[in-house]
């Protein structure tokens, strides 16, 4: 094995040296930047019927091996302004170096390469020593070639805090830190691996990584637009948490969310999963064209599917052929067709303890019995009614009087039942039947609802929409996928549906999805993906910093059966992940952005986790998982900003102290303490959060009522258990004497606020 690795390393070096100018690295960017806008994929925008994005097209102006006979070169080097390309008025200009690159490339045969992301990932051989963790081998290989040394491992307290926050979104307790330090004395590697096992097995893992997915699913608890009414779709949020905790493989995870309703014998859970694409906004304004906004929601679904699973800006082809990536407008609407043919119902969801079918049956029987009884006693009721006097009427509730105004034959079942219950049926058998009926009815009507997809009985037709305008349908299209990716085999007997799309996405031939997902998981651990443009793997995106590693991870993920937890384990057990994040002078000089990963990266915690850390450190946190969203205290005046003022009844009991991901989020007026730390807005898919660092965050941590409440609780802990313990609850490490010297003169209440405001407390180091 080690020989193979060495060999591959050697071969890699050889091939890099002999292949001459690498097209994707050196030539494509020149052509893309300067030529493709007029000589590229978009046939409507193409000038002189010349395209340079394919070799066949380019051969019209290139003679391979003969730069001097190639018009392309002549036109870029000419001094004649009439002839010069790119034309002067485009404002673009090639440098001498770029012209030379083109010349050499033509001389070497003008070879083209497919854009890297559209080629299947190749399982690169792992460079280096056999015993080395594969990730470390790839990372070290590059570092060595750049003459940089990797940083040492982070100190143990930093490490346990880092991996706990990364895997569960919660800092370790002091006892957990102590246990880890003890175990390390015996066997550091085993201690760490056991820790990782425990964290991956924690139910909080699903919360932390669930939120990662919910960003991409653009999850929030209201309908958006100007009305922004609350909605119930938290069952989908809980489904995500549960699926991740159960270790559901990523292919199943995908299929259930895109098409769970179409699986044979779809379970309730699989239907709930389709809530993924119900996280679109709903416009409830008066006077709107519903179809317009339905189409808008489908646009969003296409764009989201493209971004989340394909890492492509598919949405760019909504109005015209994509300018940079080979995606035709027609292909866009073929994707659209998959997502354009469903109804959008809500599903009633019951607690597992409820026997829904038994109760439904019972309700039906009760209804029959009650109806029969009422028929039997109709005359008796008529007599009772006839006996009513104005005085007796006065004592009756308004609802009963209203029913009395309706002629007996015209009353509904519910009205008759209510009237009987208020009169001659108030006692005896009717009463018994009726009470049970009310009870069963309450249980059956009391379930939670959640928004789902359901394939329409009659498929909706899809047309190309000219310029994306729903009032201008052009040719009809059938469901299909972009030709640049792996082939889609449409079913012969029926129309292709979302399930076929989901299976196509998760097909082993798919060159892109595994890369996109591993990259997006990697990004959470290092603050940046191996491909920095995590939502654009197309030609406008950035090239991977470590292409072989990316491919190796992608292939491992796919071949390993899309096992998400294993991917996490793989990354966090690497030495690369465990490195110290401390900056070093030579790295600041040579790799200030830490692209080469000689060290780890300090990362400010996500908005929800900033809250979770404060709640955990202060001991207030509720460990309850799932359930309806909650209403922790928020500043005054926040809810008055939207078009419709919403109420915010602060939750009582433990719901006041739930983790940040359970806070109710109105899209139009989101909780400021989340927004200020860059929580996404839920309007469209968010594949990477920004990490800002502002005075407003300082004001939040200092003054916000919820954080202040945490400080008060932490202050009591200081009084009971001392400053050092409180310091450890926030940072997981022991304070230095110098640090204690700063804190000790302060009153406990102030020291607690200081601790919750430390940069270190809100940062994963």
């Amino acid at each position: 094995m080690s020989f193979l690795r060495l060999l591959s390393c050697f071969l890699f070096a050889i091939s890099a040296a002999s292949a001459g100018i690498p097209f994707n690295r050196d030539v494509r960017p020149i052509l893309a930047e300067n030529c493709f806008a007029c000589h590229g994929f978009d046939k409507k925008g193409r000038k002189a019927d010349l395209r340079l994005d394919t070799r066949n097209g380019a051969l019209a102006v290139i003679r391979p091996g003969k730069p001097q006979d190639s018009e392309l070169l002549a036109r870029v080097v000419t001094t004649d302004e009439e002839e010069l390309m790119p034309p002067k008025k485009s404002g673009k200009q090639l440098t001498a170096e770029q012209k030379e690159t083109l010349r050499k490339w033509i001389e070497e045969g003008a070879g083209y390469e497919k854009h890297w992301a559209f080629e299947p990932p190749a399982a690169a051989l792992i460079p280096g020593r056999a015993e080395e963790h594969p990730i470390d081998a790839f990372i070290r290989n590059r570092l060595t070639s750049e003459g940089l040394a990797a940083s040492p491992e982070a100190d143990p307290a930093t490490l346990i805090r880092r991996v706990s926050l990364d895997l569960t979104g919660l800092p370790p307790g002091t006892a957990e830190v102590d246990a880890f330090l003890r175990e390390r004395q015996k066997d550091p590697e085993k201690a760490y691996r056991d820790l990782v096992d425990r964290l991956l097995g924690s139910a909080h893992y699903g919360e932390r990584w669930g939120r990662w997915w919910l960003d991409q699913a653009r999850y929030a608890d209201s309908n958006g637009y100007s009305i922004d009414a609350p909605r119930q779709i938290w069952k989908f949020r809980d489904w995500v948490i549960g699926a991740l905790n159960s270790g559901m493989t990523f292919d199943q995870f995908t299929v259930e969310q895109l098409a769970g309703d179409l699986l044979p014998g779809a379970t309730e859970s699989q239907k709930i999963a389709t809530g993924f694409h119900r996280n679109t906004q709903i416009n409830q304004e008066g006077g709107i064209d519903k179809e317009q906004f339905r189409i808008d929601s489908v646009f969003d679904r296409v764009a989201t599917t493209g971004t989340v699973w394909l890492g492509l800006t598919v949405g760019c082809a909504q109005c015209h052929d994509h300018k940079f990536d080979p995606i035709e407008q027609r292909e866009y609407y073929q994707l659209f067709a998959f997502l354009n043919s469903q109804d959008e119902p809500t599903l009633k969801v019951f607690d597992a303890s409820v026997d829904v079918s038994g109760l439904s049956e019972e309700l039906k029987e009760l209804q029959q019995k009650l109806a029969a009884r009422m028929q039997e006693q109709a005359e008796e009721l008529a007599a009772w009614e006839a006996d009513l006097t104005p005085a007796s009427r006065k004592t009756m509730p308004a609802a009963t009087l209203k029913i009395l105004e309706i002629a007996p034959g015209k009353r509904t079942f519910a009205q008759s039942r209510a009237l009987f219950a208020a009169s001659i049926g108030a006692v005896g058998v009717f009463r018994e039947l009726n009470d049970r009926y009310a009870e069963v009815d309450t249980v059956l009507n009391g379930g939670v609802t959640t928004m789902i997809l359901k394939e329409a009985a009659v498929p909706r037709k899809t047309h190309v929409l000219i310029k994306g305008d729903f009032t201008r349908p052009a040719e009809e299209v059938n469901p299909g996928t972009p030709a640049v990716l792996h082939p889609f085999s449409a079913p012969s007997q029926r129309r292709a549906n979302r399930l076929d799309l989901a299976k196509w996405i998760m097909s082993p031939e798919n060159p892109i999805t595994a890369r996109v997902i591993v990259n997006r998981i990697w990004q959470q651990y290092f603050g940046r993906g191996l491909v920095e443009t995590e939502n654009d793997f197309g030609m406008q995106g950035t090239a991977p910093t470590h292409p072989e590693l990316l491919d190796w991870l992608a292939v491992s993920f796919r071949e390993g059966g899309w096992n998400v937890k294993e991917l996490h384990r793989l990354i966090v057990t690497s030495a690369t992940y465990r490195k110290s994040s401390v900056q070093r002078p030579e790295l600041r000089e040579k790799d200030p952005g830490n692209y080469l990963l000689a060290r780890q990266q300090r990362l400010r915690l996500d908005a929800e986790i900033v809250r979770d850390v404060a709640l955990t450190a202060s001991g207030l946190i509720s460990s309850k998982i799932g359930g309806p969203p909650v209403y922790p205290p928020i500043p005054d005046g926040v809810m008055g900003q939207g078009q419709v003022k919403r109420t915010w009844q602060v939750s009582k009991g433990e719901d006041r102290y739930r983790r940040g991901l359970y806070t109710f989020v109105y899209r139009a007026s989101p909780p400021p303490s989340l927004t200020v730390f860059d929580a996404p807005d839920g309007f469209s898919s968010c594949t990477r959060r920004t990490r800002s660092n502002t005075p407003l965050q300082a004001l939040t941590l200092l003054n916000d009522a919820a954080f202040y409440e945490c400080a008060k609780a932490l202050s009591q802990l200081i009084q009971r258990e001392g400053l050092e313990t409180a310091f450890r609850r926030c940072t997981s490490r022991n304070p230095s004497d110098a640090e204690l010297a700063v804190l000790s003169p302060l009153a406990a209440a102030d020291a607690a606020r200081v601790l919750l405001n430390l940069d270190e407390t809100v940062t994963r180091e």
Binding site: G593, S673, N693, N703
Partner: protein, 472 residues
């Protein structure tokens, strides 16, 4: 300790002591320099201006009803625009509500001032200051949908994640104000601008340069007030201790984000006093309120924001941006030319003119650039929705500039007989950016930041030109 003693220079001294005593590893030098970033003094050449106030009319105001006088449109109202104008052009709402029939202006125009600039009757107050401003009728942008076009006007790119002009300028010049953010955003109108906070984002520049929105109601900034049972003195002690400990961590880790956070806490603390003072305009004289047309000093409005902009500039804030929304007059039910455009004009006319006048009276106009405009203009052709409006138009639209060394009383650039395109002096958004930076003493090609091996600039990679004709 008296809070006043913790000015930024005290912080710098403290930092220096710490770093020089502890910093054997040498990690602190960069952090030190970023903490010590001297306000101002980093210009490439002497500056004509120090501050910018950008009055942003979000949605795209109709130049044809405000500044670009086109009698020919009235004459040919209802007739199709010649094919030669529109062939190969793309528009928003192409071929849906978009139409090709010319639409005459909804209002009359008159010439004003010594410059004889044409201004519509919707703008009686701006008509009165035409000799103080430079009207540019041939602004040109590249993108015709709101959010991308707003990004383009603000960041020079239609993509998310690039630094905004305010961020670039605060980055380039530093802030002259140590108790308010260097870049402040104020909003009026029924909603926030499309695109949201990315419009004042800092992109690949440090986050400390991003714009800070000030709220018009309640606490100007959420959580600005110290908890009720915490005294001023204790708040100061807490902030001091946080800084001490953060500084120690900065030295341990060498992470520049910590120096940003230290600055953020200092700023936050000072903002607790300075922001309420700023927002309290009760001390302004009645004649000032009347000048701006502010009826109730407490009621949020564009006019009040204009006055706040002056107060911000007085306090040394580098870049103030006002967003006023609902300028998207397609002819929809809430944004049409007949009813709503005149209302919007009334909303901004008096206060915008008052701002220029007020700055001038106070001697602030010389070093403050006032910019008025939106993300694009509107088509000479009518658009038919509930009523007739105008579609988005990117080839020629009007903006105006005042102060900061911009010429006074000029109308620059000429559009064709329909106001469709420039026939003379087109001014690309990047040219505007280059010109604004130039007045601030910044050379647009040198104001750059390296990210991913590329040098990013506000003016992008294509050549941009300082429009010297606009400068005095």
């Amino acid at each position: 300790m008296n809070p006043q003693n913790y000015s930024s220079s005290a912080l710098r001294d403290l930092t220096r002591r710490h770093l020089f005593s502890r910093c054997a590893m040498g990690v602190g030098s960069m952090a030190l320099s970023s903490l010590m970033a001297a306000p101002g003094g980093k210009t490439h050449f002497p500056a004509r201006a120090k501050h910018v106030i950008f009055l942003f009319m979000a949605g795209g105001p109709s130049q044809l009803e405000m500044f670009d006088h086109k009698p020919k449109l009235t004459e040919l109202n209802g007739q199709p625009i010649p094919d030669s104008y529109v062939k190969g052009k793309r528009f928003a709402f192409m071929d849906s509500s978009h139409r090709s029939d010319l639409l005459g202006p909804r209002i009359g125009f008159r010439q004003h001032g010594q410059s004889g600039a044409w201004v519509s009757d919707y703008l009686p107050h701006l008509s009165g200051i035409v000799d103080d401003i430079a009207i540019v009728k041939t602004c040109k942008t590249e993108l015709f949908n709101h959010a991308p076009a707003k990004l383009f006007m603000n960041t020079g790119s239609g993509l998310f994640g690039r630094p905004s002009m305010g961020a670039w300028i605060t980055y380039g010049l530093g802030s002259e104000c140590d108790d308010l953010p260097g870049f402040v955003v104020l909003q009026s109108g029924p909603r926030g601008p499309r695109g949201g906070s990315v419009l004042w984002g800092s992109g690949m520049l440090p986050t400390t340069y991003q714009g800070v929105p000030l709220r018009n109601q309640g606490d100007p900034i959420v959580n600005l007030s110290t908890p009720a049972d915490v005294s001023e003195q204790r708040q100061r002690q807490v902030v001091d201790a946080v800084r001490e400990l953060n500084l120690k961590r900065l030295i341990e880790t060498g992470d520049d984000e910590i120096s940003t956070r230290i600055n953020a806490y200092e700023m936050a603390y000072r903002m607790q006093t300075s922001a309420p003072e700023l927002m309290d305009i009760s001390g302004e004289g009645q004649n000032t309120l009347d000048l701006y047309g502010i009826k109730d000093p407490k009621e949020p409005s564009y006019a009040r924001n204009c006055l706040l902009a002056r107060r911000l500039v007085e306090r040394g804030v580098r870049f103030v941006q006002l967003y006023d929304t609902n300028w998207d007059h397609h002819g929809g039910p809430t944004e049409n030319l007949q009813k709503h455009l005149p209302e919007k004009c009334r909303d901004v006319d008096q206060a915008s003119a008052a701002l220029v006048t007020d700055l001038k009276q106070r001697g602030l106009l010389d070093d403050t650039i006032v910019i008025w405009g939106g993300e694009f203009g509107r088509t000479p052709m009518g658009e038919v929705r509930e009523s007739t409006g105008r579609n988005h138009h990117i080839d020629a639209f009007t903006m105006w500039f005042a102060g900061g060394g911009f010429r006074r009383g000029v109308v620059y650039g000429e559009t064709d007989e329909f106001g469709f395109g420039a026939v003379e002096h087109p001014v690309h958004v990047h040219d505007l950016h280059a010109t604004i930076l130039h007045q601030l003493g910044l050379e647009h090609e040198r104001l750059s930041v390296r990210s991913q091996g590329l040098d990013f600039r506000l003016t992008g990679v294509d050549p941009a030109h300082v429009v010297r004709d606009l400068l005095s």
